[in-house]
Amino acid sequence: MFMQAFLDIFDIYLLEAVINGILLGGVLALLALGLNLIFGVIDVTWICYAELVMIGMYAMYFMVQYYGLSYFIAAPLTVLLVALLGAALHYLVIAPLLTAPPINQLLATGGVLFVLQSFATVAFGIDFRNLGIRLPVLAFGDMNFSYARLLSFLAALVGMVAVYLFMTRTFTGTAIRAISQDRQIMALMGVDTKRIYLITSAIGGGLAGLAACLLVLQYDVHPFVGLSFGPITFLICVLGGLGNFIGGFIAAFVFAEIISLGGLFSDLEWGYVLAFAFFIVMMFIRPAGLLARRR
């Protein structure tokens, strides 16, 4: 009765789009969190972040489709694999450039983007692949939600809470937060910055891996899939204020709503275009991000 009245007020499709936007926002927030963590602690932007996700999606595909592993066994393995990849990226590319100007670090990860994309092309070909798992559609009133999206949203939330607990309740997490506040002093306090950087990179990679496990439920994987959500992740991080976790979280949901609602009226690509237009406007209003970063 009440539900019906509620649904009469809102256009049913509009409401569906709003809720789908929230669900999409969860995964975007997860992506933004990983990137923000890396930036906040190591002061590096991984341009190739979305490509790590792509590799993770391929890992999921092969483990589930090719080796016949269960999804829930493959997922932790993928998270672990991408976490190792993140640590390797830091060890091989970022660490030698730590004293170099920041732009060189950024461009080097751009080179890694090339490497990962072409590696995927060489190793897996350019075909679109999917897990072949068809999750049921959840009907609620007259609205339909994909179960995959709901699952992703919940898993993303759990992932973010886990990172939050790690950062606030453990010694290593505390050290990571301390380093993001003052890089020089923490080394003098006896914190092994190299180790902390490596751990942070692994966590950032792990978050990319988690995102990969969730995205592979909804999207086909191909070597250039990173390009379809990479730019939006960067926009979210900048809008939220680079390194600002809460800002990134809010910005992810704002963007997800714009994309979802924009997609309601037109193609999904136009949702992205709208999001970018919104971003430009916001730059005039709040150039330092939704919540300016604390110094």
Partner: protein, 339 residues
Amino acid sequence: MIGQGRLAAWGIGLAALVALPFLYRDPYHLHILVLILIWSFAYTSWSMMGRFGLVSLGHGGFMGIGAYVTALLWNHLGWSPWIGIPISMVAAGALALIVGYPCFRFRITGHYFVLVTLALSGIVLQVITATRDYTGGSLGYTPNRASGNKLLALQFDDKTTWYLIALGVWLFGIVVWHWVDRSMARYALEAISEDEDAAAAAGVDVTAEKLKITLLSALMTALAGAIYCQYQMFITPDTVSGIAVSLQMVFAAIVGGLFVSLGPTFGAIITILLAETLRIGFGTKAVGWDNLVYGVLLVLFIIFLPKGILGSLLDRLKPQRKVPRAHEQEAVQIARPGA
């Protein structure tokens, strides 16, 4: 000032370049040369602002606009590229101003600027893909073959004509580079790239100077895109716009050397020859190998040779000539927010 000897060297070099297609007519090699010249122009356009620490990953967007606007106007409205190219340049310039103004006005520098421009090129790619009814989407787009006047349509069949056009455009880029190099704007921009606040305090209009060089760079990049489109007669969103193209520009400029006028050209020669050699070497048996090697080399370059090949070579040749300015000791230095 350019000395007599250098002027003579330039003159002889240019005469040789102009004479080349009349003496040597291998179409494949001429094709590679034309590509090198067009991309050199694009890379030079990028380093116009890149050398002052304004690292843009949005130039793929400008190039895409140059190519697509010109081709769309020709196919749908029948407007000659002679009108279409200026319009496409104006469109790219307008976009550069719209994105650049808030960035510069509100001091968005460093990582922020790179990511904003990165998103810009991603969005241009999305728009081209989204308007697939007009642009053909990711399948690519071909300008209609001209039925009448070839000159009016800016479509030529022989490589020699294209070689000369590309050479002219490339030379134009080098001249503009030198013109900026010897202007007051250069000193203002160098001051800005070292310390924005100090430059502003010394009376430099930071926003205006940055906007001017960004506009110039965007206009030239759009021209490069349009020329590329007219030459290849086939464009896809991935070959003229997007993040990959933007990164390709940055890398080539860095590999060649940012701070010398022929650096980006040198970068284009190296990267295109490398890509072609790898492509032929690996053949069709494995798509992607060329980019894989390319990417690894680029990472190694940034780690071990950040001043670029030509830049490092010139340093080696004349070590005592001048003390490098602080900002030239790094591949690209950018002012950090609040630094």
